[in-house]
Amino acid sequence: MNVNLPQGVSRDRFASAMHAMRKVVGDQWVIVYDNPLLASYLDTYSAAPESSTAASAAVCPASVEEVQQIVTIAHQYRIPIWSISTGKNFAYGGPAPRTAGQVVLDLRRMNRVIEVNTDLGYAVVEPGVGYVDFYNYMKRHKLPYWIDCAANAMGGVMGNTLDHGVGYTAYGDHLLMQCGMEVVLADGSLMRTGMGALPQGSCWPLYKYGYGPYIDGLFTQSNFGVVTKIGLWLMPEPPAFKPFMVQLQSEDDLYQVTELLRPLKINMIIPNAAITVHLLWEASVYTTKHEWKTGAGPLPQRTLRQIAEKFNLGMWNFYAALYGMPEVVEANWQIVESTFRSIKGAKIYLQKDRAGDPSFEYRVRLMRGEPNLTEFSLLNWVGGGGHINFSPISPASGADAVKQFQMIRKACEKYGFDYIGEFVIGWREQHHILMLMFNRYDADESKRAHDCFAQLINDAAGQGYGEYRTNLHFMDQIAQTYNANDGSLLALQRQVKHALDPAGILSPGKNGIWPLGEKPETES
C-alpha cells in the first residue's frame, strides 16, 4: 500500500496520534489512508495529479471542545492538520491539503446556525454551515433577511469569508460584513476577537474593533489558528429589487462600460458586486465547445459572434441590481439606464425581458442571495472537469480592464485555451476572474493549463497586478510576487506564524506561509 504519511512523521507516531484522536471524535470520524472514504478528500479539479495533495487522514470534530482536543493532540505528536470548513472551495483545492500527507481537519459537522438576531441583523455561524443550509434556515424561520452566497451553492459561509470570497448582493464583500471571531489557537486554547473578549456583553457581532489591535484579518487566508465561529451582518430584505443586464456588442466596449460604472460604484448608486462577463462564460449554460469546434485551440472570433447571435448574448454582458425603497430604486434607475444607454449598440434588459432565460435567471438569483450551481455549466464547456481560477486585482478602470483582458487572452491562446473570464467590480477595484477550463483526463492539456497559470502569475506581477486568492499549487509562487522591500510582508507573516504556532502544525504552507525552517516548494 502506498502510504502517504505527513512529512517527517513515523508510522508509529502517526498511529498513536490517530488513536488519540479517535478517542475524542469516535472511530468513524477518523478516516485514515487505508479507508476508501478518504478518496472523498481528493482535489478532483486541479491541473496537478490528485496524489500531490492526497491527505493521510481526515478528522471530523463536532464541537469546539473536540477541535481544541484535536489541536492539542496534533501539537503533542507534531502532526500537520489542514483546516477545511465545507471543503467545496473548488478551483482552489477543494477539501485537499496543501501537500500530500497532511491530515485534514474537517469542520463540516460543526454546522449550527447559532444565532440570528432579527433586530440587529446579524448571525453567528459555525464553520460547516453551507450556503444552502443557511438559506434554508432563513426560509424555514421566515426571517426578513437575505444571505449573500458565492456562485457555488455547495460552498460555505465561513470558508468563503475567510478566503476573502465575494458574493453578488450589496453585502457581497464577505469579509467586510464579518464581525467577531472565535479561534482555537495552536496550543488548543480558545480566543475571541474584538468585543468577544469581554467575559460578558452582546456587542461581539456588532462592533468589529473592540479594544487594541484589530486582529480578525490575521485569521483569514492564513494558518495562525482554527476559526470555529464568526459573526456576520445580514442584509435586510429590500422592498424593491431591480436586477438588469446590459448586453454589449463589441469586446472593445469593455473600456467604456468600466469607466461608466466606476462613479456609479464609488457613489453607491449601484451597491452590489457588479459584473462584466465575457460571452463564453454565459454561453456555457446553453452549449459546449464541441458543438462549435473539434480539435484543439481557442474558438475564432467569427465563431464567438455566431454564438452571441444564437443565444442572444453580448461579447460582454454586464449585470447589476438596485435595492431599497421603490422610489429610490426608480430614481437611481433613471441614472443607471441613461448612463449605459450611452454605449453604442448596448441593449438593456430587465427581468421581464428575459423570463425563463437560465443564464440571466441564475445571475438574478445570485444577486438576491439564492444559492444555485448554474455557473458549474462551465465544467461542461470542454468536459473533463478541470478548472483553476486566475484572479488578479486591478483598479476599477477601463484601461486596466483592457490591459488585463489582452494579457490574459494572449496567454490563453498561446497555451490553446479559450478566454473565459469576468470582472467583478467591488467598490474601487475589480477582481478579474479567468476560469481556465481543461480536461483533467488529458495529461498534456492539464500540463498546459498549469503552465499557462504559472506564466500568468509572472505576467501579471510584471504589470503590477497580484492575485487575491489561489489554488493550492500556486500559493508559493503568488506569495513570492508580493515581495516589495525584500519580501518583508511574507517575512512578517512567517514571524507571526512562528510566534503563534511554533511547532508549525496548523495548515502548513497556506498562502505561502510555511513554518520557520520549512521551505516553500518551487513548482513552476
Partner: protein, 124 residues
C-alpha cells in the same frame, strides 16, 4: 373491586392511548427513508441534477445520453452501489461528497430515493 380496578384500567388505557398518540406524532415527525432521501437530494444534488438547462449535470447527461435519460431520478439502469460509489468518489465533472457532508445512512436513503423517487417497499 371491579369499581376500584376500573379507574386504574381506564387510566392505564388512557396512558397507553396517549403514548400511542405521542409515538404516532413522533413517527410523523420522523421522515421515512424516502423522505430523508428526498431531503438529501434537494439539499445536495438538485442544483446540478435538477431538470433543464441551468443544471449542469442534467445538461451534460442530456448531451451524452439524450434528454430522456438526463434526469437521474427513477433511472432504471442505476444501482444503489453505483450511486454510492459515485457520491463518495466523484465522477468526471462531479465532485466527491464526504461522510461529514452526507452520512452513510443518508447516503443509503439518497441512493434508494434516486432509484425509487416515489417510494419502494424497502423504503416505506
Amino acid at each position: 373491586m371491579i369499581r376500584a380496578i376500573a379507574p386504574a384500567l381506564i387510566a392505564v388505557f388512557a396512558l397507553t392511548l396517549a403514548s400511542a398518540a405521542l409515538g404516532a406524532a413522533r413517527a410523523a415527525e420522523m421522515p421515512s427513508a424516502t423522505q430523508r432521501g428526498e431531503q438529501v437530494f434537494n439539499t445536495r444534488c438538485i442544483f446540478c441534477h435538477g431538470e433543464g438547462l441551468g443544471h449542469p449535470a442534467w445538461q451534460m447527461l442530456a448531451l451524452k445520453k439524450g434528454k430522456n435519460e438526463a434526469e437521474i431520478l427513477g433511472r432504471p439502469d442505476l444501482t444503489p452501489a453505483y450511486i454510492k460509489h459515485v457520491v463518495r468518489n466523484g465522477f468526471i465533472e462531479m465532485p466527491p461528497f464526504r461522510p461529514s457532508e452526507i452520512s452513510n445512512s443518508d447516503l443509503n436513503a439518497l441512493a434508494n430515493y434516486v432509484i425509487h423517487p416515489n417510494g419502494s417497499p424497502a423504503a416505506k
